[in-house]
Symmetry: C2
C-alpha cells in the first residue's frame, strides 16, 4: 500500500489514524498543498485523483480517493478492530456523526474555500476567520448535543472503542485549536477528544508528528 | 418508517431515490426550509436532529440523519438491489464518487452557506451565483474525468445498474440546471444522468413531483 498525504490535511489525518488502528504502515508520499502553487495540481497526481485532493491510498493497481471511502475500504478488507461496530442502527449513528463533520463542517473550512473567500471575494483575514469559527461553532454545538443526549455515547463517540466518528472528530478539533476557536462550550466533545489522544494510533497520526511536518 | 424531507433539498432527493429503488414507501413529513424562518429550527425537529438539517429517516424508535448514513442503512437492512455492488475496491470507487459530490460540492452550495455569503459577508447575488457555478464546474469537471477515464463506468457511474454514486449525482445535476450552470463540458456525466432519469425510481423522486412542491 502507498499513502499520498500532507501533514496538515485533516482528511489525511483521518486516514493516518485509521491505518494506525488497523496496524497498517503503507509507503508514504508527501504532497505539499501550497509549495510551488500546490503539488496536488501536478499532472502525475491529477491522473491518480482528478479531484486534486489528498489523501489517496494506492492498493495494488487501484488508487482510492476520499478519506471516508478509504476508511470504509480498510474496514472491509481488515475487519479488526472495527470502525463501524454493532447493528445497522449503530453503524448508521456512527456514519451520521462522521458525515456531520466530513460533509457539513470540514469542506467549508478547506484551504481552497478560504482561498476563494480571499480572491475573488475580497474577504479580509478577519472575515475569513469569523467564517471559519462560525462553521466550527455550528458544527461542534450540534455534535455536542448529539453526544450528550444519547445513551450510546461512551468513553468514545459511540461506545467504548474508537470508531469512524472519533476518526473524523479528532482532526477537526486540531483545526479548531489552530484557529483558536473556543472549545469550552463542548465538554462532552472534549472529553472524547482527550480519550482519543491517549490512544497511540491517534497520537502518532497528528500533523506535527509526520515526516513532512514544518 | 417515516421520512422528514423537503422537496427542494438535494440530500432529501438522494434518500427519496434510494427508498424508491428499494421499493420502500415511508410515511412523509414535510419540513419547509424557508417558511416562517425555517421549520427545521422548530424544537421538535431539533430534538430529532440537532444539526437542524433534512432529511431524517425514522425507523422504529431511532432517528437517522445524514443522507449517506441513511442510504448505507437502507442498503444494509434491505440488500436488494444493492447500492454498493461488487468487491471492496468497487465499493470504494462508488463511495469515492458519492463523497466527491456529498462532501466537496454540495455543502458549499447549501442554502445556509449562500445565506451567510449574503449576510454577514455582503456578497451580491451575482457574486453568490459565481461562487455556486465555480464549485459546480470544479466538482463536475473532476467527476467527468473520473467517469470518462475508468473502464468500470458503464451505463451508470459504476457498471450497468444504479449505485450510490448515481443517487448522489442526479440531485446535483438538478441543482446545476436550476442555477443555469453550463453542462455541455460533461458529456459522460450527462449521458449517465439521462440514463438515470429513465429509471422510474429516479424520476418519481424529483423535487417537482413531491407533494410539498411549490
Amino acid at each position: 500500500m502507498q499513502l499520498f498525504d500532507y501533514f496538515r490535511s485533516s482528511a489525511s489525518f483521518r486516514v493516518r489514524i485509521g491505518l494506525n488502528l488497523k496496524g497498517l504502515a503503507p509507503e508514504r508520499h508527501f504532497v505539499h498543498l501550497t509549495k510551488g502553487g500546490g503539488q496536488q495540481f501536478d499532472a502525475a497526481f491529477t491522473k491518480m485523483n482528478p479531484q486534486q485532493l489528498v489523501p489517496v491510498l494506492v492498493d495494488g493497481a487501484e488508487a482510492i480517493s476520499q478519506s471516508l471511502a478509504i476508511l470504509e475500504y480498510l474496514d472491509e478488507t481488515h475487519p479488526e478492530p472495527s470502525f463501524l461496530p454493532g447493528s445497522p442502527i449503530d453503524r448508521a449513528r456512527i456514519r451520521a456523526l462522521s458525515l456531520a463533520i466530513a460533509c457539513d463542517l470540514h469542506p467549508l473550512n478547506n484551504l481552497r474555500v478560504l482561498f476563494y473567500l480571499k480572491d475573488p471575494m475580497g474577504q479580509s483575514e478577519d472575515a475569513r476567520n469569523t467564517w471559519y469559527r462560525h462553521w466550527v461553532a455550528k458544527g461542534l454545538s450540534a455534535f455536542e448535543t448529539a453526544l450528550k443526549e444519547d445513551r450510546r455515547t461512551g468513553k468514545f463517540c459511540h461506545g467504548d472503542t474508537p470508531t469512524l466518528a472519533d476518526i473524523c472528530l479528532v482532526p477537526q478539533i486540531f483545526n479548531a485549536k489552530r484557529l483558536e476557536c473556543p472549545l469550552d462550550p463542548y465538554p462532552t466533545v472534549m472529553r472524547v477528544f482527550d480519550a482519543c489522544m491517549k490512544v497511540p494510533a491517534f497520537d502518532a497520526a497528528q500533523p506535527m508528528k509526520q515526516p513532512d511536518a514544518e
